[in-house]
Structure formats: structure tokens, C-alpha cells
Amino acid sequence: MKTINKIKVILIAVTLFVGYSCSIEDGKDLNGPETSSISEGLSRPELPQVVSGILSDMRDRLATQVDAISVVGRDYWRIQSSDPRWTGDLLTGVLDDNAFYLTTHYAARYAVVKECNLLLKGLENSTADFSLEEKAAIRGFANTIKAHELLSELNFLYQNGIRTDVADPDNLGPFESYEAALSSIMSLLSSAGVDLALGGDVSPNTLGVSYLEFNKALTARVAAYQGDYTRVLSALGGSFMDFSGDLNAGAYFQFSAGGSDQLNTLSFALNSSVANARIAHPDFVSSAEPNDGRAGKAVLRTEPLSIDDLTGTHDVFIYPTNTSPVGIIRNEELILLYAEANMTANPGQAIFAINIVRNAAGLGDVSSVDVDRLLYERRYSLFAEGHRWIDLRRFDRLNQEIVIDRTGDNVVTQFPIPQNEGL
């Protein structure tokens, strides 16, 4: 064959190849399932993965969330020399509506709400052979978790309110007032409670209590925030509250060092440097009753730590390792809720409950329970678990109890609505 003919053959071949390749297939998502694969119909094998995802994602940004609420509540100071907004904004009260201490956990909690909503939607559209009971259980699980996540952010935004109707990203519901949002959360919990009672548990469950028990415990907490003490008591009845049981029993976030699992970043070693430390507020150390074993949650450092004109002598030391579980709601809180709910109507029961908690801390009995007593016990029992700021606020004690450390520091009552909400 002459060279020129060879070339012609090559030309034709290449031209054909180029011509053949004109048509293009739609791009595919190569890196994971699309969200629509769940929302358009949940299958049985997908269920545990969605549930695990929700349980796992509930821990996302947990440390930032607990730190932020603990700093404004003066449980402890979060020291981080490379990001000193911890000892800036959160103590001065000049809050940024686009700063990490607000936006990260806000987005993380609503991401879990989204996962719950996708699960609910997928359940509606499911063609799998889920029984009525199974469907009820799944619904109950999703709504209980949703309620928990919404409550977490409502606690931050308080009177600014939150959105609770967020299923459609293009058509979000309005910001509801604090009271209305609490009601919405309560009605989620109520219907979920009915569903879980009918359907039973959903697998997997890493909380350590059944989803129904968790639902009831949470219902008691929300009812207390609403001041509905009758409901507190009825909910506690269905929960895991146990006067003679381990105060630490309850629902927990679990952690592990496994590849895609998370570590407990609320755990810092003793005597950490200014790079990253949690220093107990001196007032927590000095206000403890003598021999209160709960004061041991703050451990004396070998050297005091100073930053930004703040000096502390004690480390917060609740989680010894980075796989220690973190309590979501414990028996101790439930007993204290029981005390609170009985405080006016049935003081004897309140005293009984308070003394269970005090005795466990190595303290003697008290003979009466008032708000001060309740707040003291809650402060020390639930130290660094994100309660004090909320408790002082709901009993209107913030200005009275919060110790101001530096001139220019202030009391924070609520966090702003994140800038991205576009309000």
C-alpha cells in the first residue's frame, strides 16, 4: 500500500472515531448515593444505614455546641489560643451571627433534621414490605430525634425562635416563637411516643436505652421547660428514671477511633496547654459545698493556666479518653426533673429526689427544696453538660448568678439567628 493510502485509511478511522464519540451520556454521581435514592422510596437494606447515619451525625460539632453553651453559662472557659473568640465574643456577649460557635452546630443539628425528614419521606414513598408497626417505629424514631435536634438549637436562639417546618428546602416554614417552637417539639415527641409505643424499637440503637425511653425522658425535659410539671411526671413514668439505679444510666453518644467514626473531642488531657483546654470556672470550684464529690469533675492543675486576663486552676475532666461516651440525658437529670416537678406541689417527693442525688455525691440530706437548692444541685450534677445557662435563664437568674470576670464581659441571654437564614 502506498503511504498516501495508508494515511487515508488512518484518516478515515480517526474521523469515524471522532464522529462516533459525538453522543454523551449524562454525568453520573460516582461518589455516593443521591439523597433522592432514600426520599423516593426507602428499602429495607437502606433503613439501618439511614438510622446509623442519623445516630452518627447527631454527634457532629457536638464539642463546639457543648463548649459554646458551657462558656456562656460559665461552667468553664474554653481556651484555644489559635481561636480566641472563645474567650472573646462568648464572654463579652458581642455575638457574631456568622461565627463558628453558632453556625457550625446550628447547621449540624438541622442536617440531622434533614436526614430524619428524608427518612420520613422515604418511608411514605416506600414500596418495601414494612409492616404498620415497623413504619410506626421508624416514624417514632425519626420524630424523636428531630425533636431532640430542634430543641438543641432552640436552647441557643431562645426568644429569637427557630424554624420547625423545614422539610422542603425551597419552601421553609417561618421562624416560630420560643413558646410555639417548644409546642411543636412537644407535639413531635407526643406523636413519636405513640408511634414508638406501638412499633417498638428500630435497629440499630446505640443510645443505650430504647427509643421510647429516650422519647419519654426528652418529653420530661421539654415539659419542664414549658413549666408543665404534670406532663414532666407522666413522661418520667415511661422513661428510664430509676431512683435506686445508677445516676449515670441513660442515653449516650458513643465514640470510637474506627475509620469513619468520630472521637470524643470533649475529652482533653489534664494540664493541657493554652492551645486547647477547658478550664473550670473558678466560681464552680469555689461555690461547691465542702465534700461535694461532683466538684471532682474539675481537677486541680499542676500549674494555673492564663490567657486573655483569665486565670484558672482546675481542668474540666469528665471524659477520661477520646472514646468516652457523652451523656445525652441521664438518670441523674431525670431524678432532678422529678424533684423540680414536685417542688411546689409535692415538696416531700422533691426532697426525696434531691437527697438521692446529694447522697450519691457524698453530701448529707436537705430538708427543703427551693429554686436555689434545685439550681445548685443541677449545676453540680449536670456540670459541663450544657444545662446551667438554660436553667438560670428559665428561672430568670442569669444576671444574678453569672459571675462576670473582666470589665467588658457580659451575660448572654440568647444567640442571634444565623446570618445565612437570610432574615
Partner: protein, 991 residues
């Protein structure tokens, strides 16, 4: 390659023969050499003022007959300055021609398969020659070498870490969240310029875990154009916007950089060997706070420790300890080129090694190239280019973190009396004031990128038919760029912050492997047709196809066994994988009409579709049109139409930019809890109907050539609008997605560029060429259908880039003293200028390039961090606080506390001596006795890079970017790897 029309051959023949017949003659003969000592083949020799002329042979020898002496001979050759030589006797004439600065500018690309004489181009196409690229000083990377060399670009080094990491922005911001970097095409091969981040670094630094408002990696991976060896490059053409790049369609909105590598020339086989050695050192160290025992006591209560350290002689300047190294540089280059009538070749090997200014950092690059050109027949030409590269970079551990573990941040928290050195057994003490001992980290951690890459292309050029006034050519091109990138990150267990007792993960090892293969094929037909009245038509049409494939797998392990680095030798193993497949198809057609080189008009259209669009088979069309008028050719200013040049030009074009891969989808991410695998929603909501961004650019210009074209002035004004901006816009986080992809805005860039080139002293023993550029750009977000949002930064309390309708696309906003969010600055410079000079005296040449960036702001957070560590050198000065009450450090901290960002937004102007080179060339004549006269030239010299840096910016270098080459948001500084200057000594030999 000569610019002669077809009848010139006959004309030359006539010239050669005719005089011999008619006149009595004096025969003059001689040889033409270049100033590099090489022979110049086929130069044209003409007796001035006559039509008498000859062409030299392949070895540069010529012989010309003239009537009588004296005469003036004019020597010209493409790529060389034309020389006039008066001849008084008939002794042999030796002519030395110097390479012309404009030589390589004589043609510029206009289409995918055609070029046009620069004098006929309707666009301002910047060209950088091999000499400008590498002639003065060997650049660290190709993109870095472009800084200051042509108008219209903002080129920023993200950090001083060896191995590259550059951002090139042509004519302003062209995209907010899409790709803002130009498309690189080398010899027809689409070259990948990805940055692939390593696994494991963020697990330790947690840089993205705190306040960063973006998902960008802050680990500062290098970009892959750094692999390309600048020494191989013959020529770079830069299409700065859609008006010039429209024919490249939907990948061309950020501009196109077209690179041509060197080719062999027919003739003697030439061997060039060059060796450069030198060093680099930090441009600027910040120094220490003026410590005394009492200061140490008052701040830390450690006056006694200070005194003890002072007495023991162990007070240490840790900035010098970490950044004070002189990094050794060696650069070896061997090239061989030549060829015969049918086949020419160019082969080159380069070994490039550079240590960083931090111990155990450095970059190594080995590149091997072979370019072959073969004429199969008179009408069929085959070209093959191939380049194999092995590169490796050790980049240390720098930039933002939230754990005080990076070397940069740790240094800011280190006082001189902290003792961090190992004992005689190699045990490092824990840092007394920080969670990591940076000396230990520096000495044992690994952060390496290793690339093994093959870039190969081929083209077949066929003259299908040819007649007197027309021809039809077919061109087929194919290319592939394939590489394997390995990232290795290793933090041994004994590092302070790896200890489980302090919450460490007990050692971390991460291996990442990326397989990337991009390929492109295209076929074109080009038809040239000249009518009898000198109207020329160039018609072209073609098809293109590109495929892209990336697969990244990262395995990150913690809880290591012993000191093993293998990722399986660990308690916990995590894996993530990212894949990308994309397929684009396009066609184009273009018509160019040339009326006697007086009026040149072009019309063209490109159609593109891509699997990356919402509808893969929807075609997006990108039109272009341009017109150039050479007024001088009309004889309006006299009859000698070549003495000067007046060109008016205008061009319009549209080009696209794809949405980032994945923007179509809302993809679940994976997670697990206690071994239960789960799926969670991503932070960004996808948009299944997303479209490419569309850029529409209109450019006008005037080119003037004055004083016999010794002075060339080019003035260009442009307006480019980007519509359907692809935004990763803020979304209401309560929806579950903090961001969403959307086509949701428009922006506009306006600017102008002035280029002046002059041969100040053109001829003789001393020559001086100079070039000055001035350019400026302004951008505005003209439309935004989503809420204003922040791109890069750490919130309004520290200064952040914010996209806001009616404002500059690069504005920096922050809180003022009253707590209001106001614009505090803009990263866009007021203007940039460069001043380029080339002076030659006999065999000595001096060239230098100054680059001035006036204005443009950065967010500088390094100083604030060192204030937190109480170590800022200027902590105790009093020149920041307007009231004079607070020291600089206290003032910055107080501002930070109050949420005021003003002190952190700083003017990032600079004046840099980008390059300087001083060379002495020993020519062939002087070397005739050495090695039997086989040496063509020897060149010796010294060069420097960034030797002079003038700026009033309170850190290492205003040229910095914590967020790498992000499209919008360059200029945030958080404890970077400091930049360096380079000193080099050179020897090159030509055989």
C-alpha cells in the same frame, strides 16, 4: 517558516541569477552566526536600496555579487533582529545576528488550527518567549515564571513551600466558586492543573474544623502545572479572555495558556548543557519581640526561666531556627536537537532540585522530553511530543490550624527561653507553652507529594490538495495527560500531640493515590483561498472531544503499630475515595477574511456539550467576531507602509466555564458509629439543572509602531461580563444544607492594559531594549439572586471576602469600630506595572524585571496569632492605635475582642525585582582553539529571583494565600510558609 508569499521563491531565484548575467561583479562572501554562537541558516542577504539578494545556506554561508564597493548589506532572518552592515572590502564578512525580542511574536493563534500574523491579530494576545521565561533565571515553576511578564494577569504564590502552588488570574475574577484558573494546552494536549490535597493533614490541624466559612482545603497542595519543565518551552501565548479564547468554548472562560515546546531544526546536531547552582533564603523574617527578663516575668511570670536560659546561652530565635535555612538549588539541563530533511528532533533532560528554607522541605523534578517531527511525504507531516515527569515535593506542615500543631502556628507561641532541642539520645522535650514542639514536628513528620506523569501528543497534518490560489489541510490531533499522584503524610507516635494521654491519635499515617487521565482528540479542516484581488479567506471547521477521569483513594490510619508507616499497621483505618468522569464534545467553525492585510475580519462559533451539564446533550454555543484594521497599509501616513504601524482592533467572544464536578448532585456522605455504617447529608445542595457560566468579552485596542517600529505601543480596553455565575451560595442552614449550587448572578470586569516595547539603543556594541506594562482591572457583582455570602475568610470580626450585589467581586468586609459591617478593602490592585530591561554590551548581557503591584488588600491574621502568643516583634511598638494608648499587640487583641476587623485588613502593595540575570557569553570564535573548535559557545552568569522586595505589609510577603488558588478569595494569611528569594550561578555550554 518564513513569511514569504508563493512568488517570492521565483523572485529570489531571479535575484540570484539575473545579476550574474548582466553586470561586472564583486563577490562578497561570509557567514551568519547568532549571538549564541550558533549558525543562522537560510538568512536573507540583500544589498540595501536594490533588489539584489541571496539566501544563506544551511550552515549560514552566503555569497553575494555586488557591482562595486562600498555597499550596505541587509541581513534578515525570522527570529532575529535585522542587521545592516556596510562593506568596504571583499574580505570575508562575519555577521552576528541577535535573537529578536519580537521574533516569536510574529504569529499568534486565532483558531484551534490556525494562526495569524501578529500585525493582523484583532486581539491582544500576550506572548512570552523562551528567553523571557527562562533566559534570566530558572523559574521554580512555569506559572510562577509568568508573573510580571505580560499585562492583565494577577499571579500569586500561595506560599513559599517548595513545589509550587500558584494562582493565575487573567483579567480579574472570572468565577466565584467555579474554576478560576486558565486552561493550559501544551502542544495541543489539554494539561491537567488540579490541586489534590493529601489526607491526614486536616485530621491533625483541624484547619477546616473551626471558623472557616468554606469547605476549601487549607493544606495548600501544589497545582499540577508545576510539573511542567519551563526549560522545554519555546513559546507561550496567553488568551486572556473570551474574545480571544471563544473557540476553546466551555473551558475557556478563565483564559487559555497555549504552550509550544521546543522543536529540532534541520542541520547540525546541537547539544546544550546547562548547570545552575544556588540557594534560596527567606525574603523577610519578622524578628523577635524585644525580650528581657522583666518582660518575660510580667507576661508569663517566667523571668527566672528567661534568665536561666540567657545564662545557659540557650535563648533561641526560633523563627531563624525554622526559617533560617539556605536551601540548596541545583538545576541541570541537557538538550539535544537537530535532524535531517525528513525528520527533526528535540530531546531534553532536566533535573531540578531545590531545598526549602525549612529543613526537610524541598522539591525534586526530573523531566524527560522527546519531540519528533517527521515529513512522511511532501504533504504529510507527523509530529509527536512526549514528556515524562517525575516530581516530588516535601511541603512541611503549615498554614491555618485549630490545634496549634502546625510548624507555623507553633512558632508563634514559642518564646526564646523555651528549650525545644533534642537531647543526645534524640528525645525531644514537650513544648512548655504549646501542644506541639515544632522542631520535633519538622524533624520527623512527612508531607510528601510524588507525581509520575506522562504527557504525550501527536498531530498529523495533511495537505489534501493545493493549487495556485487555494489549499485544503486536514489536521488530526490527539493527546493524553496521565499521572499518578501519591501523597504521603506521616506523624510518628512520639510527637507531642500524637500522645493519647493528651488526646492524640497515637500516630497518623496517610497514603493517597490519585490516578488521573485526561485525553483529547480533535480533527480540523482548514481551507485557504486567495482571490485575484488579494482577498484571502481562511475557513476552518472541526470536532473536538475531551475526556477526564480522576480517581483518588486516601487511606488514613491512626493508632500506629510501633513506628510503622504502612497504613495497615494501625488500630484504626479510614478510607475515602473520590471519582470523577467527564466527557465533553464540541465542534467549531470559523471564517477569516483578509483584505490585503488592511482589514482582517473573523467570525466563528463553537458548540459544546458535556456530561457535566444538567442535560448532557444540550449544546451551548459560543460565538466570536473580530476586526482589525491596519491603517498604515492604506498609505494614509505616507508611502512606506512598513516604517510604522497603526492598527485599530476590536473583538467580541463568549466562552464558558463548567460547574464543579458534583454540583449536579446532592450526594450522601458516609459515616459510621460503633461499626454501623451510615449515610449523612452533605453541606451543599446540588442543582440538577446547573448550566455553565457564560463569559462575554468585548475588547478594543490600538497598536502603534513608531520610529521604524522601534517603539511599539499597545493599548487595550476590555469589558467582560460573566453571566449565570455558578455559586456555591449560602443557603438557609435550617434546610439541612448550608450551601446550594445555583446559577445565580452576574459579574463584570472592566480594565485596560498598556504595553510599551522599545529598542532604546537598537544597534551597535551596546544595545538596550525595554518594556513597560501597565494594567488595571475593576470588577463588580452586577446581579445576585441569592443572599450576599462570604467566600473565604473567618467572619466579619476578622475580615472576610463577601459577594454582594453592586460591590467588587473581591471586596473584603469586616466590622468597623461601631460594629457595622463595612467594606474594609479589596484584593484587586489599583494597578500593576512591570518594567523589563535587556542590556547587552558585546558579550555581556544584563536583564532585569521589576514588578509593581499598587494596592490590593490582604487579611493578615499571622500577627494576631503571634499577639496571642505574646511573641510579635512589633508587640510593644505604638504605631497602630490611633489614640496612641495601646501597644500594637494590645491594640490588635483589643480590636479582635471587640470584633473589629480593621487592623487585620492590610495594604498588600509590593515592588519586587522579580528577576535579574547577568551573563557573559564566550562565542565560537574565542573557543575555536578549545576541543578542536567543537564548542559553539560557553555562557556564564548569575541570576536572582525576588532579590528586592519593597512592601509595607506586616508579615513575610504580601503575596500569599491560605486558601490556595481559590477562584475568589486570595490574600488571606494564616501563618504560611514564608516566601524565599533565590540566588543562582550558571554555566551553559553549546556543542
Amino acid at each position: 517558516m518564513k513569511q514569504k508569499n508563493s512568488n517570492s521563491g521565483f523572485f529570489l531565484l531571479f535575484l540570484l541569477v539575473f545579476p550574474c548575467l548582466v553586470y561586472s561583479q564583486t563577490a562578497l562572501s561570509g557567514k551568519v552566526n547568532s549571538d549564541m554562537g550558533e549558525t543562522v541558516p537560510f538568512a536573507t542577504v540583500i544589498q540595501k536600496g536594490t533588489s539584489n539578494g541571496v539566501t544563506a545556506d544551511v550552515d549560514g554561508n552566503f555569497s553575494i555579487n555586488v557591482e562595486n564597493l562600498p555597499v550596505t548589506l541587509v541581513f534578515s532572518s525570522l527570529g532575529f533582529e535585522t542587521i545592516e552592515q556596510s562593506v568596504v572590502s571583499n574580505s570575508p564578512i562575519n555577521i552576528t545576528m541577535s535573537e529578536s525580542a519580537q521574533a516569536l511574536e510574529e504569529v499568534v493563534v486565532t483558531g484551534l488550527a490556525s494562526s495569524v500574523k501578529r500585525s493582523n491579530s484583532a486581539n491582544s494576545v500576550a506572548t512570552v518567549s523562551a528567553d523571557e521565561l527562562t533566559g534570566r533565571t530558572p523559574p521554580q515553576t512555569l506559572d510562577g515564571a509568568l508573573a510580571g511578564k505580560f499585562p492583565g494577569a494577577q499571579i500569586t504564590a500561595a506560599s513559599g513551600a517548595p513545589g509550587g502552588g500558584m494562582s493565575v488570574k487573567l483579567r480579574g475574577v472570572t468565577s466565584i466558586n467555579g474554576n478560576g484558573q486558565p486552561l493550559y494546552i501544551i502542544d495541543g494536549v489539554y494539561v491537567n492543573n488540579n490541586s489534590v490535597y493529601a489526607g491526614g493533614l486536616n485530621d491533625v490541624s483541624n484547619a477546616a474544623g473551626g471558623g472557616a466559612s468554606s469547605t476549601d482545603s487549607q493544606d495548600n497542595a501544589s497545582n499540577r502545572i508545576a510539573d511542567i519543565n519551563p526549560e522545554d518551552i519555546a513559546n507561550i501565548e496567553i488568551l486572556k479572555g473570551a474574545s480571544a479564547s471563544a473557540i476553546y468554548g466551555s473551558r475557556a472562560a478563565a483564559g487559555v495558556i497555549i504552550i509550544t515546546t521546543k522543536k529540532g531544526k534541520q542541520g547540525k546536531t546541537k547539544v546544550n548543557f546547562s548547570q545552575a547552582v544556588g540557594w534560596n533564603e527567606a525574603v523577610n523574617l519578622l524578628g523577635q519581640r524585644n525580650w528581657t527578663a522583666s518582660l518575660a516575668e510580667s507576661i508569663f511570670g517566667e523571668g527566672d526561666l528567661y534568665t536561666a536560659a540567657a545564662n545557659a546561652g540557650t535563648l533561641t530565635d526560633y523563627e531563624k531556627e525554622i526559617y533560617g535555612e539556605k536551601g540548596f538549588i541545583t538545576n541541570t539541563n541537557v538538550s539535544v536537537s537537530g535532524g535531517g530533511e525528513k525528520t527533526t528532533f528535540f530531546g531534553a533532560f532536566t533535573n531540578n532540585q531545590e531545598d526549602g528554607i525549612v529543613k526537610r522541605t524541598g522539591a525534586l523534578k526530573r523531566s524527560f522530553r522527546l519531540n519528533l517531527d517527521h515529513k512522511i511525504t511532501k504533504d504529510v507531516k507527523l509530529s509527536v511530543t512526549s514528556n515524562y515527569i517525575k516530581s516530588s515535593a516535601d511541603r512541611g506542615f503549615f498554614n491555618n490550624d485549630n490545634t496549634n500543631t502546625t510548624i507555623g502556628i507553633s512558632n508563634l507561641f514559642t518564646r526564646p527561653w523555651d528549650y525545644l532541642f533534642p537531647d543526645e539520645n534524640g528525645n525531644y522535650p514537650d513544648h512548655p507553652n504549646n501542644s506541639s514542639n515544632q522542631l520535633h514536628t519538622r524533624d520527623v513528620m512527612t508531607n510528601n507529594e510524588t507525581v509520575s506523569r506522562l504527557i504525550a501528543g501527536g498531530s498529523l497534518d495533511v495537505n489534501l490538495f493545493r493549487t495556485d490560489n487555494q489549499n485544503l489541510r486536514l489536521m488530526l490531533r490527539g493527546g493524553v495527560d496521565t499521572y499518578t499522584l501519591k501523597t504521603t503524610v506521616f506523624f510518628p507516635r512520639d510527637l507531642q500531640f500524637m500522645d493519647p494521654a493528651v488526646g492524640g491519635v497515637d500516630g497518623l499515617s496517610s497514603e493517597g493515590t490519585t490516578q488521573n487521565t485526561d485525553s483529547n482528540f480533535s480533527g480540523f479542516l482548514v481551507h485557504n483561498y486567495n482571490t485575484n484581488n488579494n482577498l484571502g479567506f481562511t475557513t476552518q471547521a472541526g470536532l473536538t472531544k475531551e475526556t477526564f477521569s480522576q480517581n483518588t483513594v486516601r487511606v488514613t490510619s491512626t493508632g500506629l503499630i510501633a513506628s510503622e508507616t504502612n497504613v495497615d499497621q494501625a488500630a484504626n483505618v479510614g478510607v475515602d475515595q473520590f471519582r470523577l468522569e467527564q466527557e465533553d464534545f464540541g465542534f467549531f467553525a470559523q471564517e477569516e477574511i483578509n483584505y490585503q492585510d488592511k482589514i482582517i475580519g473573523t467570525l466563528g462559533v463553537r458548540g459544546d456539550k458535556s456530561s457535566n451539564n444538567g442535560d448532557a446533550n444540550e449544546l451551548f454555543y459560543y460565538p466570536k467576531a473580530s476586526l482589525a484594521v491596519n491603517l498604515n497599509k492604506f498609505g494614509l501616513f505616507g508611502n512606506d507602509t512598513e516604517m510604522y504601524k497603526v492598527k485599530l482592533r476590536g473583538a467580541y467572544g463568549e466562552a464558558g466555564n463548567f460547574a464543579p464536578n458534583g454540583a449536579l448532585f446532592t450526594t450522601y456522605l458516609n459515616t459510621s458509629i460503633l461499626g454501623n455504617v451510615g449515610i449523612i447529608v452533605p453541606a451543599t445542595l446540588g442543582d440538577p439543572s446547573i448550566q455553565p457560566e457564560r463569559q462575554k468579552e468585548l475588547e478594543f485596542g490600538v497598536d502603534l509602531g513608531l520610529f521604524n517600529n522601534r517603539v511599539n505601543l499597545e493599548f487595550t480596553s476590555y469589558n467582560k461580563k460573566v453571566e449565570d455565575l455558578i455559586l456555591q451560595a449560602d443557603n438557609e442552614p435550617s434546610s439541612g444544607y448550608s450551601f446550594r449550587w445555583a446559577n445565580a448572578g452576574s459579574l463584570e470586569n472592566k480594565g485596560f492594559e498598556v504595553g510599551l516595547n522599545a529598542s532604546v539603543i537598537p544597534d551597535g556594541q551596546f544595545t538596550w531594549d525595554t518594556g513597560i506594562t501597565y494594567f488595571t482591572n475593576r470588577s463588580e457583582i452586577t446581579e445576585l439572586t441569592v443572599n450576599s455570602f462570604d467566600t473565604q475568610g473567618f467572619g466579619t470580626g476578622l475580615g472576610t471576602f463577601r459577594i454582594e450585589e453592586g460591590k467588587s467581586a473581591t471586596q473584603i468586609v469586616g466590622n468597623d469600630a461601631n460594629g457595622n459591617v463595612v467594606a474594609l478593602g479589596d484584593a484587586e490592585p489599583d494597578f500593576q506595572m512591570s518594567f523589563n530591561n535587556n542590556l547587552v554590551y558585546k558579550n555581556l548581557s544584563l536583564s532585569f524585571l521589576f514588578h509593581w503591584k499598587k494596592g490590593g488588600d490582604n487579611v493578615n491574621l499571622s500577627r494576631l496569632l503571634s499577639d496571642f502568643g505574646q511573641t510579635s516583634a512589633d508587640y510593644d511598638n505604638f504605631d497602630l492605635d490611633p489614640s496612641g494608648a495601646l501597644s500594637n499587640g494590645d491594640y490588635r487583641i483589643a480590636s479582635f475582642r471587640a470584633g473589629i476587623a480593621e487592623p487585620f485588613v492590610e495594604d498588600a502593595s509590593y515592588l519586587k525585582l522579580r528577576e535579574i540575570g547577568l551573563y557573559y557569553t564566550v562565542g565560537e570564535k574565542m573557543l575555536s582553539g578549545v576541543l578542536g573548535g567543537n564548542i559553539d559557545y560557553v555562557k556564564l552568569g548569575f541570576s536572582g529571583h525576588n532579590l528586592i522586595n519593597v512592601f509595607d505589609y506586616n508579615s513575610y510577603d504580601p503575596e500569599v494565600s491560605n486558601f490556595g488558588s481559590t477562584a475568589a478569595g486570595i490574600g488571606i494569611e494564616v501563618a504560611p510558609f514564608p516566601s524565599s528569594k533565590r540566588f543562582m550561578f550558571h554555566l551553559s555550554i553549546g556543542l
